[in-house]
Symmetry: D2
Subunit: 286 residues, 4 copies
């Protein structure tokens, strides 16, 4: 044979779980859980022999059953429990990745809530039997500085027409993920603090480039959170173009902007602790 | 001729405007503005004679220019200014509808902001030269009661299998619009108050049907806000199904739910002040 | 009381039904069905008395059961059957509206299919016990003429900067709905023909305004299809802007365009047969 | 320092380009182009020194200018030209990835077109100065077999409730990408053939598992297309659940299905030619 099966995985994606904890005050946890399993799955691919395939329907059931048996609490813990379960209980499964999105709600009353957001807390747990990696994160965190952003001194070529500026709007929708050095962080406190440091660095950085802001955000998180070893950021530059009002005999001193959809700049970067243990790449994707 | 031109309108949709007000503390206003104009436009339809057609590009320019000349402040005011302008300045234009969405931001610093939400404030202003109607509203306001909702005693037929329940999750994404009796409400205070009364009614109503909750929401707004004469609500019933955990020898006392996407119930209704002046229907759509 | 319940309705939205007809060649029908019922529903709104409320869950069951009992065939027929059923079988229900989207598939083999599109066939059936109205339509039908479109001679004011043009791209995503005079059209043939005439009129009209194209589309459908009495069109003007390449010492003779997302022009209009019976407006919305 | 900059890249994403080729018959090409550049960009991250940063605005301009200067023709060629240009012309840029989506249109007339689809042709070109990698692909290709799919003999545990089946609907939305061994394939013919072989393998495989279908799809492409060395597939299992009609005294012999949104199975796998040169992973993502 000269054609072979390469890397593969399978699982149930986007299991929507709402967990209510009842008491005098109800609590709710609103999750989107995705499971991806890998291991000795060649039989299914090559001949339709499913003896090693735990159905994705079973994976879904496990998410709901574990939510009842163990509760959810922090999504990193819930992900760890699920990832370990699949690898430890299924002989053919060697690696599991559990990705969880948590949607925020604000309390309105003893058992009443309002969806807040748009920002989403995320966690990806990866376990291969021997090693475990936890990546926490945030997405859809939309930030804007209405001044304090410049862009000039850039490279130029035949196709460059962009004007230099010393005052522009800087806006982005943050997708950030940070890797824990171990598997026993105080997940809630770690999340809240890392997220707040990201926001503070965005807010406090006088920016000469979105790249500079990106690095400042990652650097600050690593400086402040010793349990973290790496931060990956994806920052779309949500362009706000100053509208030319001169045809109407109006000036526009940084006041009226067109918020464009596409295209957008996209700045992606990693900030890491020197000498950190190597990352398991499968734990980031998905 | 036995084929004729019927009702028609045209305009620029989804003009994305971000307005910065500079000072020691910057303020930002983030809008999506849509204009629809109607009048003597048969020439354009029947023969491509555009003498009566103010380009939609001009309408867009006007939105940006007015934001500079007059500021935005409350979206009802900005809509009134735009709607009147088009009708008063263009001889062929007899009716204008301006629809505005305002996206909320939370302050992080003197010139830093975070997008909050998901809820969106809305306004639709309609002006026909003689009469003016203002409809304010909110959309994407997602609310959930984790108890205090029942559903039983309903009609049954051959196709009914639904079990009665005395305790379910009630969740919805509110789209509400309320009509002002005049054009001189205190827009900001009126909006905040109407929106808060909607939320309070949802939270405080022990619900025997989403219809009951809908009516309570509209009723409360009208009771509390004399400047309003009509409330229209569209409430999807975002079903949360209790997961059957019995196959796993687990009970599920109202704790673990599957949040379904589709299908969903959709409850729509109007609550109005008796004897209110008639509504101009064109002012609601779009 | 000075606060009263106004118009209201409720139902199950977006019931996703795939119907397979088995035989030597399988056939599939892929639908999204929404039901809205109105009638004597005050009890539910005012006091949570659901005796008149047939659950939306039952409505969903009915869609699936009818698909088995009667098949689907043409969506207008399926909608008629459902709409009449709810009004005739539920004493409190006086009006029913059934809205159906049908997604197209292309045959690949005896039981294999590929989703085609993006265009969607639609139907809305409204029945109030005495009268019945059927509206057929198409949405997401995206058309483009790369020449044969002009726009000039338009109204101007202080805010007008648009250049006149005698050659531009005209592109739109057609949402069209057409009302049948009766309830016994040959639905399939009527749909295919009406849709094809819309496309032909778009293609063949040398356009001086998108309004002119809109009218030509509606006019042609009514001229060619005697069973139809009214056509409503919503045509976003999907702007394609000629890119200015002069800074790079390149001309651009109508070759390189930026396809913009927002804002967009939006042209909406109705073409109707003179003397047609009046429309029931509830049958159009939703 | 113990905090360092890791991998990073930046570029303009989602440049929407429509290219018209004028002649007796017009041709149109409708693209979404994204550029990501990497190299010596530490200055921008660490100190806001942008001397090495070619603005993303310039990248956008280059896309449009190249479309005029050289035309587009096959997206792999257009991507190669752009990727090489950025690396060769910018001293600080060492690696470029250009990702292109091409939206299909069907001809209606000499200069008239209708958007077809939903399937999208894709290409990702990666160039690092020394090496170049081209990945072609397709996305949003939605396929369905209404029979010829079984699923049984799977692993079971405490949480397994799924019934075995010998006849189910198998439906998926194909995202497939295939790596060329070189950079001189006949792109158009290669694309059409690879895509058709994917479809044929889906259609002709009697499936015992979606994994088996996935492997068959990749295997067939590699068997038939010697210029390709690796195929990566991501296949969501778009579940169609047979509706239980027994409560209504109706059977359901594989005819009436509920098409579910979430959750869904997700099967991902790679099929590769044994001994193929190693892949450059940066060329796949984005």
């Amino acid at each position: 044979v000269d054609i072979v099966l390469g890397p593969n995985r399978y699982g149930k994606a986007e299991v929507r779980l709402v967990r209510v904890t009842r008491g005098e005050l109800h609590e709710i946890t609103d999750l989107n859980v995705s499971v991806a399993l890998a291991g000795d799955l060649a039989g299914s691919h090559l001949g339709g022999d499913n003896a090693h395939v735990l159905p994705t329907d079973t994976q879904k059931n496990t998410v709901y059953a574990f939510a009842r048996e163990y509760g959810v609490d922090q999504i990193e813990d819930f992900g760890l429990r699920l990832a370990r379960h699949f690898v430890e209980s299924q002989p053919a499964i060697e690696r599991a990745r559990v990705t969880i999105e948590e949607y925020p709600w604000r309390r309105l009353g003893p058992h009443s809530f309002q969806r807040s957001g748009p920002e989403i807390r995320t966690a990806t747990v990866y376990h291969d039997g021997a090693r475990t990696q936890v990546v926490s994160g945030v997405s859809d965190l939309v930030l804007l500085n209405s001044t304090g952003s410049e862009f000039h001194g850039f490279a130029r070529d035949r196709y460059t027409t962009l004007a230099e500026t010393t005052d522009r709007i800087l806006a982005t929708s943050v997708t950030a993920r940070w890797r824990h050095g171990g598997v026993d962080s105080w997940w809630r406190e770690s999340y809240v603090s890392a997220r707040d440091h990201l926001v503070a660095a965005f807010t406090e950085t006088h920016s000469l480039a979105l790249q500079q802001t990106l690095y400042a955000m990652g650097q600050r998180v690593l400086e402040q959170r010793p349990e973290l070893v790496e931060v990956r950021l994806s920052l779309p530059n949500k362009h706000h173009f100053l509208v030319d009002l001169a045809p109407f005999e109006l000036d526009n001193p940084g006041e009226v902007f067109f918020a464009a959809d596409r295209p957008y700049g996209l700045i992606e970067g990693t900030v890491q602790r020197d000498g950190a243990p190597p990352s398991m790449e499968e734990a980031w994707s998905g």
